[in-house]
Amino acid sequence: MSTITFEFHGQLLRLAGVSEWALPLAVPATLADVLDQLAAARPELAAALVRCACAIGDRLVLRREPLHGGERIALLPPVAGG
């Protein structure tokens, strides 16, 4: 059993109160599956997660993409630079 680590950014960092959260991954699983697991573990984040983009490194990842374990997934809430 490997793990997936979520990184919280922006306002999500405030909501979560911690900078990251690890979950066990049972393959096969998609990004959507592990986001559902995260929402179940941290229900106060569930509404915000819907509006988050997800990135691994410098690549945006779609909900339907499969995960293999060991990934770090950055959760990116709505942005407001400038």
């Binding site: 950014h9 922006g10 306002q11 960092l13 405030r14 819907v50 509006r51 988050c52 983009a53 997800c54 990135a55 490194g57 410098d58 690549r59 945006l60 779609l62 909900r63 339907r64 950055a74 990116l76 809430p77 709505p78 942005v79 407001a80 630079g81 400038g82």
Partner: protein
């Protein structure tokens, strides 16, 4: 900054304008457009004391470079750079610089405006405002999730606030 012509686009120190202007290069360019975004002392009727910008740098760096390239190509602009500051900023400090150099002013202005708009709306950067009444709030902008049902990312562009009403300790 190891390479002055290819600086980090996300920087945690005061942004340096002079190297960004690329004087002495691009002799075919007769127009330079510059935008500087500075920290305002108010938002929605509230007095703002300071800001904190944070970014997800791995993607932000790549996206700013992609935006520069796409906007420069669209407008036929030989040189386009956007730098964004992160960390704690005081009122009046520069949060963003955009420089466009082009043969003529029309395309320099157009590229500068479009690049700034796209960086504000598409790049993973967040702004937390700290108010005189002791509260703080994230300025909530644009959802950048590429696969959200029934929604087009980067729209709409009006910025609401998400209040957390945190008290300063």
């Amino acid at each position: 900054m190891t390479n002055p012509t290819d600086p980090a686009r996300i920087q945690d120190r005061p942004l340096q304008l002079e190297p960004l202007l690329a004087w002495g290069l691009h002799p075919q360019c007769g127009g330079l457009a510059l935008f500087a975004g500075t920290v305002r002392d108010h938002h929605d009727g509230k007095q703002v004391l300071r800001l904190t910008y944070t970014a997800y740098a791995p993607l932000a760096e790549k996206q700013i470079r992609d935006i520069e390239q796409a906007v420069a190509a669209k407008h036929g602009v030989p040189y386009l750079r956007v730098l964004h500051r992160v960390g704690g900023l005081a009122i009046g400090e520069v949060a963003i610089y955009c420089v466009a150099r082009a043969p003529h002013r029309a395309e320099a202005f157009a590229a500068c405006e479009e690049a700034v708009d796209r960086v504000k709306h598409e790049v993973p950067i967040w702004k937390e405002e700290f108010y005189a009444d002791g509260t703080s709030a994230f300025v909530e902008g644009c959802c950048i999730r590429p696969d959200l049902d029934g929604a087009t990312p980067a729209q709409p562009h009006h910025h609401e606030e998400q209040r957390h009403a945190r008290r300063r300790a």
